[in-house]
């Protein structure tokens, strides 16, 4: 166990935001889901008791007859905003006094940093470079993430859970977002920051970042594993494998979207275009962990080899 190495990774100034991220993301996930479960309990009670549903104010927040429903922004909201501003200023001040922003040596194109890392919020994308070529990891995936986020409101046909935390009424949506945000985005950032060392090699936390380490791993393309030779044959084989993945993933996603009777009801509300859009983005999203497993466990480099692009 190399504690010095561990400490130097954690205390690198630009890694401190990741340490913060590793604390606040689980905290707020718990904080949000706790309210979701509290609301779910209330929803369960109201569904079991229609008479109560008619009279209940339908929130977990306390309410008594006679209480005013609305309060003045001044002072009840503005004092909170003012307090928040002071607290944020204090945190930022203390952080800035205690920790200096990093400044390395002057830029030198002839001296490559090892590891050369992007800013932490792009390390998920940089980590993706291990599994995909740059045109997918650096261009396609970011575009898909941005457009995919934008279409969420237009493909989510579930009218429930609008303006309150709930898990029961939005299981598929919540799982999808938590999978995309926490498992893929945040975890990949953490891997890229804390685990990837010199040469972008995998160093478990606590091991020394050995700059002379060499990895003797042979990554093979999937067509070679199956002994397929010849350019045309490889192109056709790769297209078939990617096509099969697409079909299998689509069927799996379809099954997941229809797993409960409620989910079926929501699925029926969706238009063909909405289903197709959702399928497209989810198939692309799932391709990342699939390729990660193929690469990390089975040493597969490319699945689809062509003279123009490789997947």
């Amino acid at each position: 166990m190399d504690f010095h190495q561990l400490w130097s990774i954690f205390s690198t100034p630009d890694n401190v935001p990741i340490v913060l991220l590793m604390i606040v993301v689980p905290f707020y996930t718990w904080y949000g889901l706790r309210q979701a479960f509290a609301n779910d309990k209330l929803i369960g009670e109201l569904e079991a008791n229609p008479a109560l549903a008619k009279t209940h104010h339908r929130k977990t927040q306390p309410w008594k007859p006679g209480w005013v429903k609305e309060v003045h922004v001044w002072p009840y909201l503005l004092r909170i905003e003012f307090l928040a501003a002071i607290i944020v200023t204090l945190i930022l001040m203390v952080w800035s006094i205690t920790l200096n922003a990093p400044l390395e040596e002057p830029s030198n194109p002839t001296l490559t940093m090892n590891p050369a890392k992007a800013p932490w919020y792009f390390l998920g994308l940089q980590e993706m470079l291990v599994y995909f070529d740059p045109w997918i990891a650096g261009v396609m995936m970011p575009s898909l993430i941005i457009v995919g986020l934008m279409v969420i409101p237009y493909i989510d046909e579930n009218p429930l859970g609008n303006g309150y935390y709930t898990y029961k009424q939005r299981k598929f949506a919540i799982w999808t977002f938590i999978f995309g945000f926490i498992i893929l985005w945040v975890t990949m950032i953490v891997i890229g920051t804390l685990i990837r060392g010199p040469g972008w090699m995998w160093f478990w936390p606590g091991t020394t970042w050995d700059h002379n380490r060499l990895e003797f791993t042979v990554n093979r393309d999937l067509p070679d594993v199956f002994g397929i030779k010849g350019r045309i044959a490889k192109i056709i084989f790769g297209a078939i494998v990617v096509g099969i993945y697409g079909v299998v993933a689509a069927i799996g996603i379809h099954k997941l979207m229809n797993v409960t009777s409620f989910a079926k009801k929501i699925y029926k509300r969706m238009s063909l275009l909405q289903v197709a859009t959702m399928q497209l983005f989810l198939i692309c999203m799932l391709a990342l962990p699939i390729k990660m497993i193929a690469r990390l466990l089975f040493r597969i480099k490319y699945v689809w080899v062509t003279p123009w692009f490789n997947v």
């Binding site: 949000g32 609305e70 928040a84 400044l103 030198n108 800013p119 261009v139 303006g163 309150y164």
Partner: protein, 311 residues
Amino acid sequence: MAEGNGSKGTGGNGAGGSGQNGGKKSPVSVLVEGAKAVGAQAAEEIKALQQPEKTDVWKSVLRVKHDETPRSRALGVLSNVFLHLHPAKINRDAVAYSYTWGMGGMTFYVYITLVFTGTLLMFYYHPSKVVAFRDILYLEHDVPFGKLLRNMHRWGAHLMVIMVELHMFRVFLTGSYKKPRQFNWVVGVILLVLTLLLSFTGYLLPDDQLGFWAVTVGTNMARATPLLGHDGPFGHQFGMTPFNDVRFGLLGGSIVDSNALLRAYIWHCVAIPIIASAFMVVHFWRVRKDGGISGPAPVQLESEIKEPRKL
């Protein structure tokens, strides 16, 4: 007005007094009488200042009374340009921290902090390959509070990225992107991208090894853009070379050099802040126009789902 009347009255009294007596009055006693009158006047005016809110100056600046009536509380918000994006009254539960986590507002506050510290940093920074790095050293070692300024800008930027992501997480968990707020979610995604771009363009500015290699890694992705990058799929067939592709446009050259520094500077300090501010204006405006903050809304039950509207 009050002052003008007073001084005229004093002058008249003094003139009348000398006429009535007829006899000679020593110039000294005239002077003393005059001084006494002025003194009395001054005392009166100072007494009036104990209620400064009744002066014309006060009334010209603050147009409404600030007593504790509902009317003036509402007007205090509505007649203030900085506060007028708030409604006068909000739902009593909407001020609960547990619902919003305060992330959107705090993000905006951190953005203001960044504009402020960034503007101060611009006084000491030249976007030129020759002096950029030295300017940072100068800031760190000679400029009063220069180090604190740079640290606050750096950590504020990281904090903003984390807060934007958490804000998005909260909006998703509460389903706040659902009808009628779909478009504001899209604006929010654009703001997320702009936040990342702001942070990324700022990364190069110290012109140290960290920024240089991070931007080298980052912009190398652009060369793999399909069709538009010289290393990307079909880029070669599309006539792309290192000197005319999309990466060349980003860097103003084929390598990260002085043109790239200047471009990053202008994007970082002028272009993106203006674009982001415009989108922020729309974002906040739409929060109000789409019905204010989304919740905490009363929970809906599965049995209450309305049939979707057919096109």
